[in-house]
Point group: C2
Chain length 504, copies 2
């Protein structure tokens, strides 16, 4: 494995009358002995070489980017052990709603601690992607969005670095994984044409930049890789998910559903990959459902309804619950239906339990004193699950296969870390296939970014995956709408599609 | 010839439902059709692509650096003619005393006008190189020197651009030619070890940087090549001179003398090159001789003494003379000796003419009302010429040849543009060889920088020259000193060495 950046401890001979090799060339010769042919060196690094050599007896630690050609990106007076000898990388899942970062020790391949996330501050400027793209029409609007995203990553990186006992300036590389529009915002690229016919991004392959050129406050010359995208709708976050799933290496056909703020669906194997996208996510990320929230401390992540219709649940961080994240919403909808508290249309059946109370927003199931699940919430959630199931149905039928042909079904996205696949099947969101075929990938956008930090071949693989993908526009035709209407029932108007939903 | 930067007019097809190629990839495909495989593109350029494409119907002008791998360094809405279609490069002779720049139209290969020069503002901080190196020991001292040099180049570039009807931001590349220490100052590299044993520069090969990274206010992503040096004493300016002379391509042996603030001597041919350096210059650049000045408007550049001991001279810029540049100083010394106004020791012979007057600084020849050439000036100049001749004698004797073996004798340096070789021979500064063997190269440092802008192969050639050079420390031994003392006479203590000096 070749990480994006590596540190080399170099014991060099001292300059003398017999060896007048200049300082830079002396270091480059040392690197050549390590098998590295570093080309041009940034001037900011050449400036540090003379004192680095003489501060510690011509022993230096060279930080080398292996992103493209080997490049010397920093040099320090040497020490062969301890923090200074370790290279750190920052993995970034640049989500529309949340920005999640992980700090990786590139020597061991392990994170220095838990990932740290924060709400994407762009949300204040525009709640959804379209509002933000619109905001770019204003003078300075794009720059405002860029600075919001970059500033948030910098703040999170600083927190991660502090926890690891280093400074953000000690981080030597970063990989950014996000959807097409988020990548554009991060780099300050005009997103105008992403959402207007013929839907052309400014770029699919961004390549590698310097931290200083994109505004990241890590090591100035650190390589920052922004994962590529495939057109307007399949972003680097999805490609990361495909990489993490390994589906593009398999003979059997897999489906991958990446549920973030939008839902992307990928079907394929090592020979072909088809992608489509649909609006599905907001109800699951906390934006639409009244008591919904993102998977963060205080979020109920798992919930069941007991004999007396009382809920029992677990809360992230073991604190007083303040809302429910996507997995709990799916659990609850499933449980309300299983226990007969709601009917197939998602309406509360009157007089079944005292947990269902009348609120300002109509009838609602009381989860806790401050948390209610209303009929309107249910409606939103049913719309989301219907859109998802319809998209899945349409795409596999367009490809000419059935759900029985699927070998593995991957669920990705932050919320995919917590989801109970059987519950998602029971509400008719995911197809009724053998439960062992489901694999929860968790935040595969972040995991893919970590893989890219740890091995430059991962980036090549992502680029190969990108080149394999065919994008299908999901037909918003009458057929799609009639399928969608049929899926607006729990689990489905055609119950024969879900024979196993409630067997247990 | 492959210039450092080239502009390409690209007529691209419009994005459509049938061709959703992203903007960046569309431009890169256009460049591939021109035979250019541009790798990674700077983010600042990707940011401009979308609007550049749509501002003029998908016709763009791409500015491509050919310095290393082809790199897209700018993009503008296209126009196939006029100023916007022309690439400009800045050639810089970064001298210790003067900074001279020329703006080159890279399409025609011609300068847009006369070179523009200015006094190196570092002179205010430290008159000579050693004082400046010493200044770097102060906190912020190096940065002060760097900013002085870069600021001066920026100011001169702006003047050149204004004269050419463009802005400095339209300049797409630059080449900097200077001695080792000046290159270090320009890049902000610690010069401390250049002048202290074992005399090791921070770097010999600097490579190519971005304008924005070295502070040049030309196109931000423009490549800036800093010519390499060979150790502490042979700088890029000398290598440029060797390139311009062509001596490293010839079978016969040549000598090149580069007289700037120091004098460097190169002897060799296509198989070997030996270099040495000596302090020689100041007296010829205006720093030491009381009436001396650099070759600028107001400087007498040529002077003869007539029958009645009156001078006749030409003045640069045809204005009232204010001083004499190096070539005039040599002329005058030669003429004073030829006419018998001074003796072989450089002393005025009393009572020969009324032009020799008594001044505060002792006896002096009155060139004009405000310009006097004193005995002390003569002494300084004789020291310079003696040092030069001694260095030449020592180096060829160490190599084991004689002046008769020399096929061509090149004189480089600003002052070399104006010097009369026969006069330099007559005072015993240059050896008495057939006069047709002398070739005046003028400012070959600047000319070499121009060659590097116009053809990247020139940079390869300079690097090849650099690798061929052996540096010889001129022996400051008793032998050197006795040869030096013998050369402190006009033309020489051993007159047989200059049989042709006054034949005519």
């Amino acid at each position: 494995m070749t990480p994006l950046v590596k540190k080399y401890f170099l014991k060099l001979s001292q300059a003398s009358d017999d060896d007048k090799t200049p300082d830079l060339e002396r270091v480059l010769a040392g690197l050549r002995r390590e098998g590295l042919d570093a080309g041009s060196v940034p001037v900011s690094v050449i400036r540090k070489i003379s004192s680095a050599l003489r501060d510690n007896n011509f022993e230096v630690t060279a930080t080398v980017s292996l992103s493209e050609e080997p490049e010397l990106i920093d040099i320090e007076p040497g020490s062969s052990a301890g923090r200074r000898s370790t290279a750190f990388g920052l993995a970034v899942d640049l989500g529309t709603t949340n920005i999640v970062c992980s700090l990786i020790d590139l020597d061991t391949g392990s994170p220095t601690g838990m990932p740290v996330s924060d709400t994407n501050p762009q949300s204040v400027i525009g709640e959804d992607i379209l509002a933000r793209i619109h905001h770019c029409l204003k003078t300075g609007g794009l720059e405002e969005l860029r600075l919001a995203a970059v500033g948030c990553v910098n703040a999170v990186a600083e927190r991660l670095a502090a926890s690891a006992g280093i400074s953000a300036g000690d981080i030597s590389c970063a990989c950014i994984s996000g959807n097409t529009t988020m990548a554009h915002f991060f780099l300050g690229l005009d997103p105008y044409n992403i959402c207007r016919a013929p839907y052309v991004p400014a770029a699919n392959r961004f390549g590698s930049f310097k931290a200083k050129d994109v505004g990241l406050n890590i090591r100035p010359e650190a390589p920052v890789v922004v994962l590529p995208n495939v057109g307007s709708y399949v972003g680097g976050d999805v490609l990361a998910g495909i990489l993490v799933s390994g589906m593009a290496d398999r003979e059997g056909i897999s489906i991958l559903v990446d549920v973030g703020t939008n839902a992307e669906i990928i079907v394929g194997n090592r020979d072909w990959l088809v992608a489509c996208a649909g609006a599905a996510g907001p109800a699951l990320e906390g934006g639409v459902v009244s008591s919904g929230m993102r998977a963060a401390p205080g979020a109920i992540d798992r919930i069941t309804i007991g004999d007396k219709h009382d809920p029992s649940f677990s809360v992230i961080g073991d604190v007083t619950p303040v809302g429910m994240c996507g997995s709990a919403l799916i659990d609850l909808l499933s449980e309300l239906f299983r226990t007969g508290l709601i009917d197939g249309r998602g309406k509360f059946v009157p007089g079944r339990t005292e947990r269902v109370v009348e609120t300002e927003s109509g009838p609602a199931y009381r989860v806790a004193d401050n948390i209610f699940f209303t009929e309107r919430d249910i409606e939103n959630l049913v719309r989301t699950k219907a859109a998802m199931y319809t998209a899945l149905t349409v795409i596999i039928s367009e490809i000419g296969i059935t759900f029985n042909d699927i070998e593995s079904f991957f669920v990705a996205g932050t919320f995919g870390e917590y989801i109970a696949a059987d519950k998602a099947v029971s509400i008719g969101m995911l197809p009724d296939i053998p439960i062992e075929k489901f694999r929860l990938l968790g935040n595969s956008s972040l995991k893919g970014a970590v893989m890219a930090l740890l091995d430059i071949k991962a980036i090549e693989q992502i680029e190969k995956i990108a080149s394999m993908i065919t994008y299908r526009e999901l037909n918003a035709s009458a057929e799609f709408m009639s399928l969608y209407r049929a899926a607006m029932f729990l689990p489905h108007t055609d119950a024969s599609l879900f024979p196993n939903a409630y067997k247990s």
